[in-house]
Symmetry: C2
Subunit: 318 residues, 2 copies
């Protein structure tokens, strides 16, 4: 039997790792045995459209359509609609491309008709030829808010519009108390041969996923049963490769390094993947009760993604 | 005082005439004294967007942005969003360009917030630099349906999707019983120095405008008072220059010629503009109690549009 894998995923870092993981699973003829549980905390409404940036980044990357150098959106994208919208005085700081807009038109139409985000996501990934199963962690409304030096901000306002400049004091998961896991998510996590936390921001990418009631509990239960729960550090040498994870961690009073991320996951992660640059942290992490895998985690190209995924795969004994 | 003009307008034919009329009014320094009452019978919903094709054709033409050779949409338009939408299996027979979509995003957003179509139209025309005042005939829902050999069809389904192929038996103005004239429309018509019915399809462009309770009555009242109500024949030599007016007129049991259009307007039009090719119909039209202006009505370029508008302007003694 091919192993069944669940990955918890944010945006760009996760998408890159998943591109490697699906390549490894292709070799083993089982990419459809991967369930990706995606973050929806950074979802937003824009001029009537329902936008799910992290789900789309994963989808576009796995479909081979992503503008990888930039880290968001579609390759060869144009912005003619957005340019024209600016004439009407609407805000255009969220850079929506013409082809990307099609995804939002489709998603918004189905959501308005009453479809669940998980159903819509399945239709989008199927239409774009993604073989892995991608599901939002919840079909309910869950929004990451950033309490910052410029006030309580919606996530994309902080992240895109203000380019992560405000000092972060606290992260709020608005809606987490009542959000329910999307259909099949708990079951997929419970029965997976391995759960892998992708190299994503622990506060605003993985945090919202863990905030949905039931998710963390089933991960903790797996760990207690001795099942494989891995996480890949998103920090290398105390720096985020992409995004504001390091500054955010310091903002909320944490150290910004690989070990501090491991501490956030200590109740449920059993195998932690460190970059070779952080090999010296091995002892600290193992003192948290985790096994460690030390490998190159910096994904510059498809080859290094696949190499990372293979190291994790083999390190987990899959 | 510069004369105040009201034009009743459908799509392409009207837009071309209005481009000439505004040029004539520019010379006389009064393009802002033109109120255009636009058709909304061919409005449609498409994937959650509220689309007003006739209002947009007039707007884009007067803003100098229209793709004039083709007769719809914007010049230099791209269709990247629509191409991408087709991947999701959505219907894409209505050719929405990327820049055009911006107009629909803006309009739909404001309508959802509760704005009236007339307010939204004012914002769009202002943003695009149109000096004339364009207003939908009504802010209420009014839809032209076509009872045809292929059943009762929404207008754009008949017009675009089926390319006017079905035989037309009857035109239905759905919503006309309860539609109210948009703010200021009755007053503008009542007080105008002249009302001009543009060279538009009498059944599906001017018909919906006249179907709104109060519009026809105030036009009839003007005529009774001896005020100037003109109409320009959309048919030349028994043929529509653009669109299906001739076939539709035969379909509903009318003759398809300039005189038959004049008959449809006989209760309120006092001056009727015939193409030189139809000069022989002059007597028939005058027998309906109308004065006639015979001139070239075929608008191949801006020069011929302006010439037609000038002939009407002078024929009306403005």
């Amino acid at each position: 039997m091919h192993p069944q894998i669940v990955a918890l995923a944010g945006g760009v870092g996760a998408a890159r790792f998943l591109a490697g993981l699906t390549a490894v699973m292709e070799e083993k003829a089982a990419p459809d045995r991967l369930t990706i549980v995606g973050n929806v905390g950074d979802d937003m409404e824009w001029n009537g459209f329902s936008i799910s940036p992290d789900l789309d980044t994963v989808t576009y990357t796995l479909a081979g359509l992503a503008e990888e150098a930039r880290g968001w959106g579609l390759r060869g994208e144009t912005y003619h609609c957005l340019d024209a919208i600016s004439r009407f005085g609407l805000e255009t700081w969220f850079k929506l491309g013409d082809r990307d807009l099609a995804t939002h038109v489709f998603r918004t139409g189905l959501l308005r008709q009453g479809a669940a985000l998980s159903e819509v996501t399945r239709k989008i990934t199927t239409a774009l030829g993604v073989r892995a199963r991608l599901t939002p962690v919840t079909d309910d409304r869950l929004r990451t808010l950033v309490d910052s030096s410029e006030g309580l901000l919606e996530f994309q306002d902080y992240f895109v519009r203000r380019a992560c400049r405000p000092e972060v004091r606290h992260i709020v998961m608005d809606g987490a108390d009542t959000a329910r896991p999307a259909p099949g998510v708990i079951q997929a996590i419970r029965t997976a041969d391995a759960v892998i936390v992708c190299p994503s921001n622990p506060l605003i990418s993985i945090g919202p996923i863990l905030s949905v009631p039931g998710i963390r509990a089933v991960l903790v239960e797996r760990r207690r049963e001795g099942r494989r729960n891995a996480a890949i550090s998103p920090l290398v040498g105390g720096r985020a490769l992409k995004g504001p994870a390091d500054r955010m961690m310091r903002g909320v009073g944490l150290r910004a390094d690989a070990t501090a991320v491991a501490e956030l996951y200590r109740d449920f992660v059993s195998v932690y993947v460190l970059d070779t640059e952080d090999a010296a942290s091995r002892g600290e992490v193992e003192a948290l009760g985790m096994k460690t895998i030390v490998t190159n985690t910096v994904m510059r190209d498809q080859e290094s993604r696949t190499a990372l995924a293979r190291a994790v795969w083999e390190g987990l004994g899959l």
